[in-house]
Symmetry: C2
Subunit: 189 residues, 2 copies
């Protein structure tokens, strides 16, 4: 059975997006630079890491805000090869192929993702709020945290709302590239 | 001339101390584990890094709270070989040998530290508030940030109160040890 992986990029000061996230500015003010390791500053190491993640992903879970603000940059289609499950309160009027809309919360999304993923991994890709819910529920098995060497000062905090420290982490690897410090944690049950 | 170095340990979620800092619990609740890389989990690499920092330090600058809560764990004497300058509003009634008390703010402390340090480095060792003041003033030349792989959830945030991102950082090195990810940034003027 595949692993349940949370994977997200955070600034040095703990933000996964800048302030004022809009459809036109989906990463918030200055937030786009968080992802330089995937784009402007991507090295062979960064690309291989991303390719490995995507290649072993059998299902993606994401929140409705990430989905909504992602639609424009993604050109109106799913950027995922795997089935993607969107946590939402209401199924959108115009569904997009490649996405499945889940109104029953994180457990239902996980159940559906598990079925779709078969033996592959489930990638909980964000936003922060969705990762927080899965962390809090003790469902994340591996945490891939990319720390971008920048400050955002304001925005969406990754580790808000998780109550007390939800898990013991075992730091399995740290890889440095110009755009990020990539940390991989195994989370103990 | 030596460099002005900020050096501090932060949790993954951005805290340099846990909540409820007291003289009995100078790192706040759970905060002591931040420094495992120096003590419980110290490797030869961690020790060498610390020895290099201390060996090249000609003057230390610290805040009054760090000084006050440190006094007990330090056994009532200065733990620094170099002259240490304490930023405070009022000179304490019982001065401690090895410390000099500065009531004129960060510029006066830096001026005195510079004189004491001669050709060696000035180590701005915290707390967060003092590092923030020096960062905001654009006076830090090198930032040594140790990220401990733990969450604190509450406490003293390192990057609060610095306004907008105060500086361009160049990530010069990243070293991983079991207790921390050690990041060294040069700050561009």
């Amino acid at each position: 059975m595949g692993k349940i992986i949370a994977e997200i990029t955070m600034s040095l000061d703990g933000f996964t997006a800048g302030p004022d996230v809009t459809n036109k500015d989906p990463m918030g003010i200055n937030g786009e630079s968080l992802h330089d390791w995937m784009f402007a500053k991507a090295t062979a190491t960064d690309k291989a890491m991303l390719a490995e993640l995507i290649g072993n992903t059998g299902a993606v879970v994401l929140g409705h805000r990430t989905y909504s603000v992602g639609m424009d940059p993604w050109g109106g289609v799913s950027p995922f090869k795997a089935a993607a499950f969107v946590l939402c309160h209401k199924v959108p009027a115009k569904p997009v192929s490649g996405f499945e809309y889940v109104t029953g919360g994180i457990d239902e999304a996980l159940m559906k993702a598990r079925k779709a993923a078969d033996q592959k991994n489930i990638w909980v890709m964000g936003g922060a709020n969705v990762i927080q819910q899965y962390l809090k529920a003790g469902l994340i098995e591996e945490f891939r945290l990319h720390i971008a060497p920048m400050l955002l000062m304001r925005g969406t905090r990754l580790f808000d709302n998780v109550g007390s420290d939800p898990a013991q982490r075992v730091k399995e690897s740290v890889t440095e590239t110009p755009g990020a410090v990539h940390m991989l944690f195994r989370i103990k049950k």
